[in-house]
């Protein structure tokens, strides 16, 4: 069973967090085309979240083409989702980059300084990693 983590302090809507995490798992290869996701009831109970939140997350993912809802059978990862995940990775990264840009702007940091720090951190993380599957570990999975 996939592990989902919900953070109700982040201000990010719960369904959005679930969507991001499904995409993260697809991007990381933990979910493959044709894999079945937990049923709405099961996931709602496991995470102790409102069932309509799970419905919303699944419906939005279906709308985006990442999931296919088969009537009476459940939700399945589509083949298209795997292709899409690289674009989503870019989007998720951009969100984080934007956040960094805003905060760096508030601290009046120079572009050179920001770029240098990013480079150093990427290298440090890559150095720590034993298996370089993903170049950078995405923290789309909500922060603690």
């Amino acid at each position: 069973m996939l592990h989902f983590q919900i953070d109700t302090h982040s201000g990010v809507p719960v369904y959005r967090q679930m969507m991001d995490q499904v995409k993260y798992y697809v991007a990381a290869g933990a979910l493959k085309a044709g894999d079945q996701l937990p049923s709405i009831r099961e996931l709602a109970q496991t995470l102790a979240v409102n069932p309509t939140t799970v419905v919303k997350a699944y419906t939005e993912l279906e709308h985006e083409g990442c999931l296919e809802m088969r009537h009476g059978k459940g939700a399945f990862v589509t083949a298209a989702a795997v292709g899409m995940s690289s674009r989503d990775r870019e989007k998720a990264l951009r969100r984080l980059a934007r956040q960094l840009a805003i905060e760096a702007g508030q601290m009046a940091a120079s572009l050179g300084q920001v770029l240098r720090l990013v480079q150093e951190e990427v290298e440090a993380v890559q150095g720590e990693r034993a298996e370089p599957e993903l170049p950078v570990r995405l923290s789309v999975v909500s922060r603690k």
């Binding site: 109700t8 302090h9 201000g11 809507p13 109970q45 995470l47 409102n50 309509t52």
Partner: protein, 333 residues
């Protein structure tokens, strides 16, 4: 949409003139998990007690499943369960005896579910309830309510005094009853807003006996955001006002406000301002609640009065400001 719980124009004052509930209009759709929040003394408990027919309203109506519980027949009562804030369980009874006793009141009593919950919550079957910890007594009361498989469940701070693990388990069980069979409508009061944000689909915020905000959780979250405006100049121009701002703070070139956001278009005038960057951040329900309801300290009150005055003056000169805004070209946004 069918309504499970409804109050109309509900009033209740206690002796000594303490007004607990004043003109309350509450509507809980069938199948909803509805969380009621508000500061202590906002009237949450009184509302639940009025609904259950434990108090008589001074004015207005309170109905569950269409029935006034002051006079509802047993057939209707057994479709509803209620766990009060200070549950008085008969202390000498064991959980076995308690279930046998309460089970008589509910046609749909589900003993297997009672056993399942007792196991999950590690509650002893054969010890007198009075010997259980405060948290476990609370769980025993919730167990007795859930095992009745009610159509409507009213809970007054069900998670108060529970440790984090027991709390999560309680939430799971609530979600489970909401999805069991034809589904159960749940109305609960709580101070644990983060828990509420997880399980609820509807929220009502009570303040001084009435609902000040109510609706779908998602809409409520959408309607309150933190807006930050960063100016290229060292300080915002004095006439600058963020539309819909409830609280505004200025620190150097950065103006931050909690904004009631009706729609995105509301921010267009300030996005069009020259030399500003506008950032919108979502707020968690807890942050939104605290920002909207915490008492203002003196400095803030003064600052807000100043902002209000600026706004009034800006409005008076609105011709000038509007043309300034329309002249400006959208910058970084």
């Amino acid at each position: 949409m069918q309504t499970a719980i409804q109050t109309e124009n509900l009033d209740k004052a206690f002796t000594g003139g303490v007004v607990a509930v004043a003109g309350l209009d509450l509507e809980v759709p069938r199948g909803a998990i509805y969380g009621l929040i508000g500061r202590n003394g906002a009237g949450k408990t009184t509302t639940l007690r009025l609904l259950m027919g434990l108090l008589r309203p001074d004015r207005g109506t309170a109905r569950i499943l269409g029935a006034d519980f002051w006079e509802a027949p047993r057939e209707t009562r057994q479709r509803v369960a209620y766990v009060s804030q200070r549950q008085q369980l008969p202390g000498w009874m064991t959980l076995t005896e308690l279930c046998r006793y309460v089970g008589h009141f509910y046609e749909g009593w589900d003993q297997a579910h009672a056993r399942e919950l007792a196991e999950r919550w590690e509650l002893a079957w054969d010890r007198p309830v009075a010997q259980l910890s405060a948290g476990q007594q609370r769980q025993a009361a919730v167990l007795a309510a859930l095992a009745g498989r009610p159509e409507v469940l009213l809970l007054d701070e069900p998670a108060a005094g529970l440790d984090p693990i027991a709390r999560r388990s309680l939430l799971t069980s609530l979600v489970e009853s909401a999805t069991h069979g034809t589904g159960c409508t749940i109305l609960f009061s709580t101070h644990l807003i983060n828990d509420l944000e997880r399980v609820a689909d509807h929220v009502g915020i009570m303040d001084r006996g009435r609902l000040t905000m109510a609706g779908r959780l998602e809409d409520l979250l959408q309607a309150t955001q933190r807006v930050q405006v960063v100016f290229d100049d060292p300080a915002p121009p004095p006439e600058f006002v963020i539309p819909g701002a409830v609280r505004t703070q200025v620190s150097g070139p950065v103006m931050t406000a909690i904004v009631r956001l009706a729609n995105e278009a509301q921010l267009e005038p300030i996005r069009a301002w020259r030399g500003v960057r506008v950032n919108v951040f979502p707020l968690s329900l807890e942050e939104a609640f605290i920002e909207l309801y915490r008492p203002r300290d003196e400095g803030e009150a003064v600052a807000e009065a100043a902002v209000e005055q600026e706004r009034a003056e800006a409005l008076a000169r609105s011709g000038a400001t509007e043309s300034a805004a329309s002249r400006a070209t959208p910058s970084l946004n």
